[in-house]
């Protein structure tokens, strides 16, 4: 990075300005000297605001989530119960029989319980599926943009389209997924999948769900509605394509020409030289993927519209699910009960921490890569 070199450009202004300016300009100059002070203050203040914003973000979330953090601790991360209401029910003994004392049924009261595991599961699985789908396509497209497109003189147009895709708001993808992708899946792909694979025993977990109520487990077919984990993941994949592609493209561009020409001269095929490029840029590419992951994990609107919004952990990609971001969009507005609200803020905090970690690692990888390469 060039941080160090820029420092030398800025000598103290007072020393150089004295001799070279005419006396007529001195009052104006005095104004500008005051200007220096004001500008310095404004710049420092604005920059300090950045720090203040981050502190406020973490501080406010931490403060508001505190009741839930105190109540649930780290166990919040692995608890799968998410229930905002109290349940009063007959107490059952180990054998499952209702406990009766003094001729009356003894009742137990279950307090509201909140655990983040279902939404962490939903976020992790949907982001992973999205990455599996998006990464090969993005890397392929990035290679195409760097190696092929310039020769065809379409690099500019293709880059523009991909950057425009990155600027399309997630709402647009959500609406498209809701009205085009989900119905298409429900009407065409779903029935076809059921016909073809529905009876395959090894894939039963995909098409049937187990519902356990009062100790009785029932297996029932999952309705293929197109509003499920898979749809949510696919729309995420589409949404992270542009960012992974454009960052990968930038990373691959920094691979020295000599590197490519060298491998070709040694008799490597086109693909082998591409592999060499990918190897050379691997840490930057990993950064690009992490950026995609960060975006996928924090994405809200499009996912909320098609993921089905059920806080459950189901192995099937066709079951409705919920992500950290979508549970916030769904429940935060009406969550007036103290602990419920605090639990949601706890989730917001986890989401924040997660995306910060992904982003920081990603930037380290991409920037580290770019800094080492010449001419970036």
């Amino acid at each position: 990075m060039t941080t160090g070199s820029a420092t030398t450009v800025m000598p103290p202004t007072s020393g150089t300005s004295r001799g070279s300016k005419g006396s007529g300009a001195s009052s104006v100059q005095g104004g500008w000297r005051l200007g220096d002070a004001v500008l310095g203050l404004a710049c420092r203040g604005s920059a300090a605001l950045l720090a203040l914003m981050l502190i406020a973000l973490i501080g406010v979330l931490l403060h508001s989530a505190w009741p839930a953090i105190k109540q649930f601790g780290p166990g919040f991360l692995v608890s799968s119960e998410w229930r905002a209401n109290e349940i009063e029910r007959p107490l059952r003994d180990a054998a499952g029989a209702v406990v009766i004392r003094d001729g009356e049924v003894v009742t137990e009261t279950l307090a509201p319980a909140f655990g983040a595991l279902p939404v962490i599961w939903g976020t992790a699985v949907s982001s992973l599926i999205a990455l599996v789908v998006a990464v090969p396509i993005s890397l392929g497209a990035a290679i195409f943009l760097v190696r092929v497109a310039p020769k065809l003189r379409i690099a500019g147009a293709a880059s523009f389209l991909i950057e425009f895709l990155a600027a399309v708001p997630s709402l647009a993808f959500g609406v498209w997924a809701l009205f085009v992708l989900a119905p298409f899946f429900q009407e065409h792909i779903g029935p076809w999948l059921l016909r073809t694979f529905g009876e395959v025993h090894a894939l039963r977990w995909m098409f049937y769900e187990k519902v356990t109520v009062a100790g009785r487990t029932i297996e029932r077919p999952i309705a293929l509605t197109g509003r499920d984990l898979l749809s949510g993941s696919l729309i995420l994949a589409i949404m992270i394509l542009p960012i992974i592609t454009s960052v990968s493209r930038d990373v691959l561009r920094t691979v020295p020409r000599a590197q490519i020409e060298g491998t070709l001269a040694l008799g490597a095929t086109w693909w082998q030289s591409c592999m060499a490029m990918l190897r050379y840029g691997r840490s930057g590419l990993l950064g690009a993927i992490m950026l995609g992951l960060a975006r996928a994990a924090g994405e809200t609107m499009a996912v909320t519209m098609v993921i089905g919004n059920n806080n459950q952990i189901s192995p099937s990609p066709f079951a409705p699910a919920q992500t950290m971001a979508s549970v916030l969009a769904n429940e935060f507005g009406e969550a007036t009960e103290g602990l419920h609200r605090a639990a949601l803020l706890y989730i917001a905090l986890i989401l924040l921490a997660m995306s910060l970690v992904f982003n920081v690692i990603a930037r380290r990888l991409v920037v580290g890569r770019a800094a080492r390469s010449p001419g970036s």
Partner: protein, 293 residues
């Protein structure tokens, strides 16, 4: 004669070439698919009424989205009024005050971190930091407001503008600054008359990009501006935006409102397309003049 291994090597290469091209083609066709569908349905739903009328409350004849268009313009303007100057000044600090390298290094990192905050989290912060305290102070039931929405959008905007400004200022040759300072200009003069004008095109691009980004945001507004069916220009009230209205209509059951949602998306996307295209033009012109200079 070529060996089997060689043929295999070549054919793998050809296959991968095709796959790479297919990847690029897939992305482009996805874009065309999504936006083509949008334009197709959107245009048939777009009307003069859409741009000028406000919601009627009658679901079979829902009126237009004038209130939401106005709302988005006002929200973006308010957010930019805070976000652009603060962002640019912070960017100037990061680039021009790099002698304070511990601070600039840390703050650059902070800005990067802030650009990665999920927008729904920003919305929740807006609720906790603006809506709740204002409710308490003004003794009103809930103070969802355009100001809260604009504050959330500014939160997203500031780090983006700061980082782009910094990047763009770095592109201004060092010799310009040295020359200006050597002629006796103060630091403020140098920054305002030499450095900032030199990077103007790039900064303008970054600002427009950031404005486009916040115009398309929904999640930060859910719990801050809240949305409104009414035409209002008073940001102290719950405030409409194009994105919130599209979300409400799209997730609702009324077919006529869904048509409005498509039309709204078309308007939003057309806006972003124009912004992106002009950025492209400005940026390439900027690049050319820099090379020329």
């Amino acid at each position: 004669m070529r060996s089997i291994a060689e043929i295999r090597r070549r054919s793998i290469s050809t296959m991968m070439f095709v796959l790479c091209a297919a990847g690029a083609a897939l992305i482009v066709s996805l874009l065309l698919l999504v936006s083509g569908y949008l334009v197709w349905i959107g245009i048939s739903s777009l009307s003069w009424e859409f741009l000028t009328a406000v919601p009627t409350g009658d679901v079979s004849n829902p009126g237009g989205m004038r209130h939401a268009i106005d709302g988005t313009i006002i929200l973006v303007a308010l957010a930019s009024a805070v976000g652009v100057p603060v962002g640019v000044l912070a960017g100037v600090y990061l680039s021009e005050y790099s002698s304070e390298h511990v601070a600039t290094g840390t703050l650059r990192f902070v800005a990067d971190v802030l650009t990665g905050v999920p927008s729904i989290v920003v919305g929740i912060l807006g609720y906790e930091l603006v809506v709740v305290p204002v409710s308490r102070m003004t003794q009103s039931a809930v103070s969802f407001s355009g100001y809260a929405g604009a504050a959330a959008l500014a939160f997203i905007m500031i780090p983006i503008v700061a980082r782009t400004t910094e990047e763009m200022l770095r592109l201004v040759p060092r010799t310009y600054r040295e020359g200006s300072l050597a002629l006796g200009a103060t630091r403020a003069q140098t920054i305002f008359r030499v450095v900032l004008p030199g990077a103007f095109g790039g900064i303008a691009t970054g600002v427009m990009l950031a404005m486009g980004r916040i115009a398309g945001e929904t999640a930060p507004l859910l719990f801050t501006a809240l949305g409104s069916r009414l035409l209002t220009h008073n940001p102290a009230e719950p405030f409409p935006s194009l994105t919130l209205q599209i979300y409400t209509y799209a997730t609702g059951p009324y077919p006529e409102q869904k048509r409005l949602a498509w039309a709204g998306l078309l308007v939003l996307l057309a806006l972003l397309f124009v912004v992106n295209l002009s950025i492209r033009i400005v940026a390439s012109r900027h690049a050319r003049t820099r090379v020329g200079a």
